[in-house]
Subunit: 645 residues, 2 copies
């Protein structure tokens, strides 16, 4: 119990020092994380990125101080000094665990619901990679994915989507430890929930176990051992007491407010803890050495196995280890097809070269053409790279993040308007700096008959506003191919591909090198630059046809294609200014398009919802046709002439 109390007290010390944090869960759930780390998790601080390590996601990220304390005891790169800087500027121990920021943290967590869904992605990755690469005598991959979660996590819809999905796909190496303390921020869980937990999870093909006393390590140990043997994903409901050992035990008041000196004294007495704040005895460190010792041995064994595998399966070994040159899929310049169609072809091509390219659609494969290779991923065909997510957009995005966290090249597919459902997980990708690819089709009012519920308006603006999110809206097949190469090459930035339902003519000027700059001249002015039409996606060809008509009226404009504002913003000032000269400029986008005001005062956009009618009709009625663009540009042009007069 000493190590458990060390976790508890290190947690209290951090929270008190920061005067901020969540003590309740730390005091209650410490035995769970202790049992898991000490006796089950196959990890080692010597190699915290070991590819066959067990994964651990702290879904209830507000218990961060508990994780940091445990990682410290286990020998990861978190010192007592780091713990003292909990929730302070620039520390390694931020308010919620952050991936790649802190050694030993497998996923950023905090926003409830994301954790379990990401863990599902990690478990798919293990199942896929084991099925593809393990051979007789070569059990290269056989790790588990563990989650600790709370009541709130399970109330989230995204979790329920992920649970249903995981049960269906028989992800037997996924083990969720449910810190069931019956208390939420607002009070007793009975304020908001009354479910038959066992029945609910069993109905979704999960194995359910109950540990009646969270302090009963033997029971915990047995439950985890049983879960490891289960042929289904497992949830272990562990009854705990929030704020265990404190005078607020069992009360919601200890959820989110620091204990402070007095209450901490009380805890120390209850737990018979006689060490100082931030003090840990050698005895406890000694107890935790086993993690590194066992982990190092397993790591070395795995390494040896891997070396021998190299000899017996040189090609598979190469697949596993080589850095892949992502090809640029080529299209004829006269191709006239929807970018969603080009996209389908590109995925098929890339899948041949990239064994880790995996993904699928949220029950829209036929519409989006977003489909993985090698058949469907299922419990019985785990080498399939097409994932049928069902109508579970949010979980799809979070699961894809979990796949990416496990070094897969994951992609998702859906209608652009329903990116709304996925946004919280997309933000997580940006925040974790992981390159998940989110493919969206049906990108504008051109969707047509399905009407305003299915026509995106504000989505481009909303997604472009996410820090570190590369939103690419290609104008044709060549741009789509370039966008895919950029997405798959990306190391630290997720990508959104925003594609059309309607045909778009290809353009030979749309080279990869140009697309990489975010914006470029797709159709130059003839002689003298009178103005610029700035657009992306389906509006680029519209701009080009307006350009022709304007030239007939002796107005000589340049058309700039801007598939990615994100990449354009990273260019030099010189490049930006060379592209967007100080001439009348009209930006054209069938969307809110706030973001273009940075480049020009004149934006042709949509600030109302769409309408139900054939796509061409809607687009025309909303003014996105050549004559109207010409008209609108001439107004801009003449306004400027007057100002200059």
């Amino acid at each position: 119990m000493k190590a458990i109390n060390a976790i508890r007290m290190l947690g209290m010390s951090q929270i008190n020092e920061a005067n901020s944090g969540h003590p309740g869960v730390v005091l209650g759930a410490a035995p769970i994380i202790h049992e898991l780390f000490k006796n089950h998790l196959r990890i080692t601080p010597s190699h915290s990125d070991w590819c066959n390590r067990d994964r651990f996601v702290l879904a209830c990220g507000h218990a961060s101080s508990m994780l940091y304390a445990t990682l410290h005891l286990a020998g990861f790169k978190i010192t007592i000094d780091d713990l003292k800087k909990f929730r302070k500027w620039g520390s390694l121990t931020p308010g919620h665990p952050e991936y790649k920021h802190t050694d030993g943290v497998d996923a950023t967590s905090g926003p409830l619901g994301q954790g379990i869904a990401m863990a599902v992605g990690m478990a798919i990755s293990e199942k896929f990679i084991a099925a593809r690469y393990n051979k007789e005598n070569y059990q290269l991959f056989d790790h588990y994915t563990y989650v600790i979660c709370g009541d709130g996590d399970l109330q989230e819809g995204v979790t329920q989507e992920a649970i249903s999905f995981a049960g269906h796909n028989g992800l037997e190496k996924l083990i969720v430890l449910y810190d069931s303390n019956d208390i939420q921020l607002d009070g007793d869980i009975s304020l908001a929930q009354s479910e038959l937990t066992k029945l609910k999870y069993q109905s979704m093909n999960w194995d359910y176990q109950l540990v009646e006393d969270g302090n009963d390590l033997t029971a915990l140990n047995n439950a985890i051992n049983n879960a490891k043997k289960s042929v289904k994903p497992s949830i272990i409901e562990v009854k705990t007491v929030i704020g265990y050992g404190s005078e607020l035990a069992g009360k919601a008041d200890c959820h989110g407010a620091p204990m402070g000196e007095e209450k901490t004294k009380f805890i120390k007495e209850t737990l018979a803890w006689d060490l100082d704040d931030f003090e840990v005895s050698d005895e406890i460190y000694e107890e935790y050495k086993v993690i590194k010792e066992k982990g190092d041995i397993l790591y070395e064994e795995g390494l040896a196995l891997f070396k021998s595998y190299k000899k017996d399966y040189p090609e598979l070994f190469l697949e596993l280890t080589e850095e892949i040159e992502v090809p640029l899929v080529e299209f004829a310049n006269d191709v006239d097809e929807a970018t969603r169609v080009s996209n389908g072809k590109i995925i098929a091509e890339l899948s041949k070269k990239i064994p880790f390219l995996i993904g699928g659609s949220a029950d829209l494969t036929k519409s989006t053409k977003v489909k993985g290779a090698d058949g469907d991923f299922t419990a019985s065909t785990p080498t399939g790279r097409n994932i049928n997510f069902g109508v579970r957009e949010h979980a799809m995005a979070a699961i894809a993040n979990g796949l990416t966290l496990s070094n897969m090249k994951a992609f998702t597919g859906g209608f652009f308007v329903f990116s709304d459902y996925m946004k919280p997980a997309m933000r997580m990708a940006s925040l974790m700096k992981i390159p998940t690819t989110f493919v969206f089709t049906h990108d504008s009012i051109a969707v047509g008959e399905d009407g305003p519920t299915h026509q995106p308006i504000e989505q481009l603006t909303g997604l472009r506003a996410i820090p570190n999110m590369n939103v690419i809206r290609p104008a044709n097949a060549n741009e789509t191919a370039s966008a895919w190469k950029i997405a798959v090459d990306s190391k630290t930035t997720p990508t959104c591909l925003v594609l059309t339902r309607q045909n778009l003519l290809n353009n030979e000027n749309s080279t990869y090198e140009k697309v990489l700059k975010g914006a470029y001249v797709i159709s130059p002015e003839k002689e003298e630059l009178h103005g610029i039409l700035l657009a992306c996606g389906s509006e680029v060809n519209l701009a080009i046809s307006a350009q022709e008509k304007l030239l007939n009226e002796n107005i000589d404009v340049r058309v700039v294609s801007i598939p990615s504002i994100y990449m354009f913003e990273q260019q030099s000032e010189e490049y930006k200014q060379s592209l967007l000269a100080d001439v009348p400029t009209l930006a054209i986008e069938m969307a809110t398009a706030y973001e273009y005001y940075k480049y020009t005062k004149d934006v042709m956009n949509i600030t109302t919802f769409g309408a139900s009618a054939p796509g061409g009709v809607v687009v025309y009625k909303y003014g996105f046709h050549t004559d109207n663009v010409v008209e609108k540009f001439k107004i801009v042009y003449e306004k400027r002439s007057k100002t200059t007069d």
Copy 2:
């Protein structure tokens, strides 16, 4: 069966004529909607807004042609001619059902998952209003809320949140008819799901029934009758055949593509249908007259009851019928408190005057101070106006929309960063033109220690981009009070209130009349206008302190508070120009702030994620302190001077 086939064939005719739509569900689920409308729904086309009518939500909105056909037969204001214009420009019969656009449509639907969750809100409204106003011999309110949904709806996380919530709150008058045809867009449901449906819904306190043959009207009738008597919400799983009667029966191919002439001929033969396209026999119209006849009688009875109630309970009658003057809650000008705190006081005040003000938080009541009056709404205390949504943000927003659709003044509460989870439902409010109020607190990096997962950056931009969404970010208590009055007065626009965790000093210039304009001079220039600082929320006081310092350097600026870009954009050009003169202007926002580029080239914003540290530290480190604002403004000012030189 003739009426059922009439629905089927009117559906086919519409879809064929439009060459767009979803025939599969129409052919399969027609008996369900028929049985429901003909024998159960208490509605009348004479008064489609009858307050005690049964509510009906077609969660699978892609079955719109089926609903339009049924509403036509039932005598609602949809003519055969309207059906012929299905999915055409300007028609009454758009691709998915739209609230207030088409007579008899109780809610916009199409985005899967929204329907059931909105229906939950409607059922709460019934339970609340019945409990508050029904008296002995006065059963004023006793209507049911019915939903038809498909597999996809139930896979959505928001639905699962709503189901769990409805079971917990014993919403016994909610009846979901589950069109269970085992087929999704991508194929058999077994591609994506394998659940024990009965167990799952029973585990969440729902009553479950199975109708094994969707064409068995007696079984359907019995099941609905049982559901009406149940003390729990009910789900009736009705096994149907997608594309029933067609050569594609039971196949995914008939989900989303029109049948066309040949296949329709086949259906006509199978169903022994001998009428022309869009033709309905008198016999069928005759059969459906019962809906109006029964409905009219019930309506008149209800009206009579209501008149008599007026005499016996004049005060309650008044409550139910009077147009309420929404008060402006007053604050002292020296109040220095977080706008979330002012907000809590305002809700408490308004609740005294407005009996239909109802809402709550997603397990963040203590943090957001968003709490309804009169205790908790529960199965046993249905007059409570505080709803404990649990950690179910998305369902919270959709449920609130359902409440608003039932004439309640509904509000929600949560952290601003988690508005992401609610976005799809918030968009629905904007699209339906209903005035739900979404309250958010913890509105910026000033959140502090909780770190980047909890610090909104792009959310303001994303929400401001939604058409018909009034995002108000008040700078102080007075602005918050004004914002609340605007929100509750609103008839056709939902409102987001974006509030702080940290204290803000009140300002006497922040009058209701000024806030109503969206932007106004909160602190005027002294003598000569040298420039403008434009800000909202917590940045307004920052701007005011920078204004003072600038004046010391003889730079005389005006501070404009812009709590709502949405309202500001509706002002006259004169007003806009009077406020934002052509002088050096710096917009200041601790967020992405793309939208300010419309007003000025110079925006002090944040385009990265936040950080974990005490709020004041984070805000300082990100440059949002007086000296830096002064510095930044001077750069803008000097740049302009040079240009003018």
